[in-house]
C-alpha cells in the first residue's frame, strides 16, 4: 500500500515537474547510482577557480545538508576535514582525475566522493544578483566511474535572503550581511543541483524514483 502511494506520488511529480528536464528518466540518466546503490558520501573541499576567495567556504559548508536530505550518509564534515588535512589530502585537485579512489573507501568507508569546481562567482553591482557557475561530480570509490554530474549557472537574488523586516535587516547587517547572503547563494545552488539526485537509503523514496524525469546535465537558472 505504502509503495503504491509513493509510486502514485512520483507519477504525479512527473506531471507537475520542477523545471527543465532532459528526455531521460533517472534510471537512464543515473544508471550507476541505481546499480551501485551508494550509501556513504565523502565531501571533498571545493576547487575554487572563481575570483571570490571565500567561495570555497560558502560552498563547502552547505554541501552536506542537501545530500543528507536526499537520504545518504554523509561522512562527518569537520572530522573528515581534519583527517584529510592530517593525511595531506586536503587538495581536491590531487584526486579529481585519479582513476582509483579506493583509498577513500578504506579510510572513510565512502562509497562515493563529491568533487565540486566553482568556476565563476560574479556579483552585479546594480541588481543584487550573484551568478555562480559550479560543477558537481560524484565518483564511485569502487569503480572510479562518475555516477552523477551536473554543471549549473545559477543566478540568485540576494536581496530576498534576509527577509523584509527592516529592523531585522539592520541587525543582520550589523553582524555580517555579506557572509549571510553569500552562504545563501551557495545553499540555493547546492539545493537546486541535488534535487535531481536519486534518493538514498534513508529516504522513503529510495529505489522508487527511477521513472522520474531527470534534469538536464547543464543548467542555467535564475532563483
Amino acid at each position: 500500500m505504502k509503495q503504491s502511494i509513493y509510486l502514485l506520488l512520483s507519477a504525479t511529480l512527473l506531471i507537475v515537474g520542477c523545471g527543465t528536464t532532459s528526455k531521460l528518466n533517472k534510471a537512464q540518466a543515473y544508471k550507476g547510482m541505481y546499480e551501485e546503490k551508494p550509501l556513504s558520501v565523502l565531501i571533498m573541499p571545493p576547487i575554487n577557480r572563481s575570483t571570490n576567495v571565500d567561495a570555497k567556504e560558502y560552498f563547502h559548508t552547505t554541501l552536506n545538508v542537501p545530500i543528507l536530505n536526499a537520504g545518504y550518509y554523509v561522512i562527518p564534515p569537520f572530522l573528515s576535514m581534519e583527517i584529510l588535512k592530517r593525511e595531506s589530502a586536503y587538495d581536491s585537485e590531487l584526486f579529481i582525475e585519479r582513476p582509483s579512489l579506493k583509498i577513500f573507501n578504506k579510510i572513510f568507508g565512502a562509497d562515493i566522493i563529491l568533487f565540486t569546481k566553482i568556476n565563476k562567482w560574479d556579483k552585479s553591482s546594480l541588481a543584487s544578483r550573484v551568478t555562480v557557475e559550479v560543477e558537481y561530480i560524484l565518483k564511485s570509490t569502487h569503480t572510479g566511474e562518475i555516477l552523477y554530474s551536473r554543471k549549473g549557472t545559477i543566478s540568485y537574488n540576494t536581496s530576498v535572503s534576509t527577509g523584509n523586516n527592516f529592523l531585522l535587516n539592520i541587525a543582520a547587517s550589523a553582524i555580517n550581511t555579506a557572509a549571510t547572503k553569500y552562504v545563501d547563494v551557495a545553499k540555493a545552488a547546492n539545493n537546486y543541483i541535488f534535487t535531481d539526485l536519486p534518493k538514498g537509503k534513508y529516504s522513503p523514496m529510495f529505489g522508487l524514483d527511477k521513472a522520474e524525469m531527470a534534469g538536464l546535465k547543464v543548467i542555467k537558472v535564475r532563483l
Binding site: 506520488l9 504525479t12 507537475v16 563547502h60 543528507l68 536530505n69 550518509y73 561522512i75 573528515s80
Partner: protein
C-alpha cells in the same frame, strides 16, 4: 489526490528528512573564524539538531553526533566526546570504519 501530492512535492520548500536550523551559517562562521564565539555558536546548533529534530525521519542526521563529539574532544571533554562518537556508530553502522579510526587516534 493530485493536489495532495502537489502540496507534498511543491518546488518551493518541501519538508526535509532532517531539520538543521542555523547549522550551515554556523558551520561557515566556524570554518572562517574558528574563534570562541563561532565554536559556541556551532555547539548550540548541534545540540538543537540532536535534541529538537523536526524533519520527517525524527532522528539525528548522519554525522552530527560525530562532529559534535569532535568539538567536545577539542574542548577537552574527552568522555562526552567519545560517547557521541559511539552514538554515531550505533545510529549509523556504516560510520564504523571511519569512527573507529578516530577513536584509535584519540587513544594514542
Amino acid at each position: 489526490m493530485c493536489i495532495v501530492a502537489f502540496a507534498f512535492y511543491s518546488c518551493s520548500t518541501p519538508k526535509g528528512l532532517y531539520s538543521f536550523d542555523k547549522y550551515q551559517q554556523a558551520s561557515y562562521n566556524y570554518l572562517k573564524k574558528a574563534d570562541e564565539k563561532s565554536i559556541n555558536e556551532i555547539m548550540v546548533q548541534y545540540q538543537k539538531i540532536i535534541t529538537k529534530q523536526k524533519g520527517i525521519r525524527k532522528v539525528t542526521p548522519p554525522g552530527m553526533f560525530a562532529d559534535y563529539g569532535f568539538f567536545l574532544i577539542q574542548r577537552g571533554d574527552l568522555n562526552k566526546g567519545k560517547e557521541n562518537l559511539n552514538k554515531e556508530i550505533l545510529l549509523y553502522p556504516e560510520s564504523k570504519i571511519f569512527i573507529d579510526r578516530i577513536l584509535k587516534l584519540i587513544e594514542k
